[in-house]
């Protein structure tokens, strides 16, 4: 039985210890540091794999001890937790490989990889948190450990972005804390539980519960970049590419979206939330953010900024799926948690490759890059098609499921939102793809060459792997262990029998 307690702790500690060791290593020990980093990432993948196996077999991984009078520190591994933990474990491994290649020969690597590991430890904690209090612990730890990454370059611009990032996220944290303490006063220390926890509260408390919901979602919405709380995200683009990948696909934005999913499903319970009438406004907000993000993305000339606004839009699919009441809609939202991560990280890896190899930052500089960097460009194209929702790629699965889910519960307007958003996605991605493959080569002044390959091999493999994944999770969506099946498993456990 002890292994049931030990494995979640080890999953947390693997990256926590890696961080401590990396901080302690002298700056010049690059090989050793890379070795430790990759080892920790592999161990984490294995541990998460073991836990996933256990969750399928209904094993109860977790621990709980009283951290302060009245609240406990609680870890638990349920199906939803494993979805997020699995995503971050796998993508961390790839991002680490990518970051090692990306930051070769740059200063402050010890600091970078240390905080990078801390960041992933926090993400793992967020995934495994068994109650709101523990979730909050790691949620704020994530804020703190990403700050040094955002300001990594140490320029005025980076520091300014870091300042805004902190203002947004700490204010969000404060809203979350207010909601939490209020809820604690009403209902005590609540564990996350499938089908929710608050149904039994007195009906007189419902107005208060609605206000608490607003506070919690506002707090989480900052990280999830819900309109109008998304302002920090495009600015944070000054950070190095692996950090952007981390912010957009693995950790920060996802932590916010995941938190909203947790609050709706495992704290309030989807049926109770629907009863309170908070889901519909949340759905409208998500729908607006989807359209708004896409429209803003259209107007950007900087590649990374366009991708950033695309994230604003795409993450809200998860929230939209959460807000659509009904099992199929739930599946659509949950599955996008994984799909968006895989697709977006591919896009950012590719953007980083263009910047590192050809010095490309603006979209018009991409002209003809497909011939010079065919593999990267193929990966980019695949992921972009996925985002648009071209079958049989990952994004199509999401949109199809979301649409069916909405139709099942007579929310036809969702179809409209999906259509408009897909058109907009096409409008801002297709020109990029057109430039890549069908335009004459731009004159890149800052080119670098790495041997035979089109770019550094550590930079090339991660986007290729994730691009193939984008294809596979779409093609084999019906197989067991695909994101879609896993999301179905969760949804089956979230609704009252």
């Amino acid at each position: 039985m002890t292994q049931l307690v030990l494995i979640p702790i080890l999953a947390l500690l693997s990256s926590m210890l890696a961080a401590v060791i990396i901080f302690a290593l002298p700056e010049q020990r690059h090989r050793l540091r890379t070795g430790i980093n990759l080892l920790a990432a592999l161990i984490k993948v294995v541990l998460v794999g073991v836990m996933t196996w256990g969750v399928i077999h209904q094993l109860d991984y977790g621990l709980s001890y009283e951290i302060l009078p009245g609240v406990s520190f609680e870890l638990q591994a349920d199906a939803l937790a494993m979805m997020f933990a699995g995503l971050s474990a796998v993508l961390w491994l790839l991002t680490t490989i990518y970051a090692v290649g990306y930051l070769e020969d740059s200063p402050n690597r010890s600091r970078f990889f240390g905080f990078f590991s801390l960041c992933v430890a926090s993400t793992m904690g967020i995934a495994l948190a068994g109650n709101l209090f523990t979730f909050f612990l790691f949620y704020e730890m994530l804020t703190l450990s990403t700050y040094p990454l955002v300001v990594h370059r140490g320029t005025e611009k980076a520091l300014q972005a870091g300042r805004n990032y902190i203002i947004y996220t700490l204010s969000g944290g404060a809203a979350l804390l207010l909601g939490m303490i209020w809820l604690q006063g009403l209902a005590g220390d609540l564990s996350f539980q499938e089908t929710g926890q608050l149904v039994d509260l007195n009906e007189e408390l419902h107005p208060q519960l609605i206000m608490i919901f607003v506070l919690l979602v506002a707090g989480l919405g900052v990280k999830a970049a819900l309109f109008p709380l998304h302002g920090w995200l495009p600015q944070a683009m000054v950070a190095p590419a692996p950090v952007s990948a981390l912010l957009h696909a693995v950790a920060v934005v996802k932590a916010g979206a995941f938190g909203i999913v947790r609050v709706v499903y495992d704290l309030y319970g989807i049926e109770f939330a629907a009863l309170l009438g908070v889901l519909e406004p949340l759905g409208w907000l998500a729908a607006f953010t989807i359209i708004y993000g896409s429209v803003r993305a259209l107007a950007q000339t900087d590649l990374k900024r366009r991708l950033a606004f695309s994230t604003v839009s795409q993450v809200s699919y998860i929230v939209l799926g959460t807000a659509v009441f009904g099992p199929v809609g739930t599946v659509g939202g949950l599955v996008h948690l994984l799909h968006q991560g895989i697709m977006k990280i591919t896009l950012f890896f590719c953007a980083g490759n263009y910047a590192e190899t050809l010095g490309i930052h603006k979209i018009h500089e991409l002209n003809g890059a497909g011939k010079r960097m065919p593999l990267t460009s193929t990966a980019f194209t695949l992921a972009a098609f996925g985002m648009i929702g071209v079958p049989p790629l990952a994004g199509f699965i999401t949109k199809w499921t979301l649409g069916t889910g909405a139709l099942n519960v007579q929310m036809e307007w969702v179809i409209g939102v999906l259509l408009i958003s897909s058109l907009l996605n096409a409008a801002y991605f297709l020109p990029v793809i057109h430039r890549l493959w069908f335009q004459p080569e731009y004159d890149w002044s800052e080119q670098r060459r790495w041997g035979k390959l089109e770019t550094h091999s550590w930079l090339l493999w991660p986007p290729l792997v994730t691009a193939v994944l984008t294809l596979l999770v779409g093609l084999f969506a019906a197989l067991p262990f695909s994101p879609l099946s896993w999301a179905k498993l969760i949804a089956a456990r979230e609704y009252l029998p």
């Binding site: 951290i67 009078p69 804390l177």
Partner: protein, 487 residues
């Protein structure tokens, strides 16, 4: 057993203080290490004793109250004794390396240091009002001496100002004590509390309570009586600033809290409790704002103390007229705040001292590049900052959480706004320092690299303040050790 422990607790610091008057700095330092080990043994021993047999009253040299000196060893006292050992040892070790032995006046550091420690121990276990006063005076005088150490004009000015404030505070307190003695003919805190509860018109004692609280608030630097603190803590040598901010201001607060919890409920009014809380809230806002404005690093940390002390005074409204469990939550929250602030602030002052040593001056904007060349020093500063901001997982957050719970349970929601808003304000001044140190201007390492041991001490204290957040229940369990009423 208890005789040996009490003797060790009270007399070794005094003996060491007088002995080290005769020694030079290096010899004093060697002796101090011995003393630290002794204090550690004694305080751990006392914890064991209280855990086994419960807390106890102890009459010094066999003289019973009301004539003799009455000491009260309970869970809370043991908690603070342990805290003092930890923090004072850290500061002492740091000072032994940080202060240059070649300056002739440095040898006075050790006697003052041990007098200070003796005073602190006396206050934590003091059971009667006069005894507490003696401890407090010992602390104040030693602290003023420590600030003046170094002898520059600015330091002397700050020390003089500090002395004046401390004396005024003592006078007010002593007047209150005199009124009480006139009324009850006893100074034992327990006895006085007992008698007050029996009085028909307890509000007659209100002037005495107000006098004592005002005096203690002045010594604790509660807004708007905080003017003496930032110059004194800003100009003192870093290990001294650490001692002052971490422990000295807590001693007077501890007495105020003891008096309030014993007699406040019957003597004071809701109005008074709320007023004290409001002053605390004002301190949080005003102190954080001024901390944000300071151009010099140590002044930032000093003003941050003014703000953090403000939280402590939320104890008064949160324990007045509420049920026992809420009051307990508030007391636990305040205890955690005292501990976490002591650890974090001492770590921060020591780290600030290291940074100043490295950079060569005290300005915040001189920190550019520190994160590249001196990550370790910055890291301890940063970790301490996490606790001050009250972000998890730190002791500061644990404290804040308990206070939030107490505010929620007692329906005093306005303190929730102060607690949450105060956290954001402190983030503003802490992140200002981070920001300055992450800026990279030039590629050359023009910094002096301080002794690694200096950095390790600061780091250990910072880690302790952070770890407190994960072990809050365990630490609070020491405070809750049983007490046997043998009176």
């Amino acid at each position: 057993m208890s005789n040996w422990l009490m003797a060790g607790l009270l007399f070794t610091p005094l003996a060491l203080a007088t002995t080290s008057l005769l020694l030079n700095f290096r010899q004093g330092r060697a002796l101090a290490w011995l003393g630290m080990v002794l204090q550690l043994l004694v305080s751990v021993g006392l914890r064991g004793l209280v855990k086994q047999e419960g807390g106890f009253y102890y009459s010094l040299a066999g003289w019973d109250a009301p004539l003799g000196i009455e000491l009260r060893v309970d869970g809370l006292a043991v908690t603070f004794l342990l805290l003092t050992t930890l923090v004072a040892s850290g500061c002492g070790i740091h000072a032994g390396i940080y202060l240059k032995p070649d300056k002739p006046w440095q040898r006075y550091f050790w006697p003052l240091y041990w007098f200070l420690w003796a005073g602190l121990n006396t206050v934590w276990i003091g059971g009667d009002l006069f005894n507490l006063y003696v401890g407090l005076e010992l602390i104040s005088l030693a602290a003023v001496g420590l600030v003046a150490l170094g002898g520059q004009a600015e330091a002397l000015r700050a020390a003089l100002r500090y002395l004046l404030a401390a004396l005024l505070g003592s006078m007010a307190y002593l007047l209150g004590v005199a009124l009480i003695y006139g009324q009850f003919g006893t100074l034992s805190l327990a006895e006085v509390a007992h008698q007050v509860r029996l009085m028909d018109q307890a509000e007659l004692m209100r002037p005495a309570l107000v006098l004592m609280l005002v005096g203690l608030a002045l010594k604790t630097a509660l807004f708007p009586l905080h003017g003496w603190l930032p110059p004194a803590h800003g100009i003192a040598k870093s290990p001294v600033s650490a001692l002052l901010s971490a422990l000295v201001v807590k001693a007077s607060f501890y007495i105020a809290a003891r008096i309030w919890l014993e007699a406040g409920e019957v003597v004071a009014t809701q109005w008074m409790a709320q007023l004290i809380g409001a002053l605390g809230a004002a301190a949080v806002i005003w102190g954080s704002w001024l901390a944000w404005c300071q151009p010099r690093l140590k002044q930032v940390v000093a003003y941050s103390s003014v703000a953090q002390i403000g939280y402590l005074f939320l104890l008064f409204p949160l324990t007045f007229g509420v049920d026992a469990s809420t009051s307990l939550q508030a007391q636990q929250g305040i205890t955690l705040q005292v501990i976490s602030h002591a650890l974090a602030k001492s770590a921060m002052f020591l780290a600030a001292g290291n940074l100043i040593l490295a950079v060569g001056n005290n300005r915040v904007d001189a920190l550019a590049g520190v994160s590249h060349f001196l990550p370790f020093s910055l890291f301890s500063f940063g970790l301490a900052g996490v606790s001050l901001m009250g972000l998890p997982p730190s002791g500061g957050f644990a404290a804040k959480w308990m206070l939030l719970q107490a505010s929620m349970a007692s329906g005093q929601w306005w303190w929730i706004l102060v607690l949450v808003g105060g956290g954001l304000l402190s983030a503003a001044y802490v992140f200002r320092i981070y920001r300055a140190s992450f800026l990279e201007r030039d590629e050359k390492d023009h910094f002096y690299h301080p002794d690694r041991r200096l950095e390790v001490v600061a780091m250990l204290l910072a880690v302790a303040s952070l770890g407190l957040g994960l072990a809050g229940s365990q630490v609070l369990s020491v405070m809750a050790l049983p007490f046997e009423e043998v009176q």
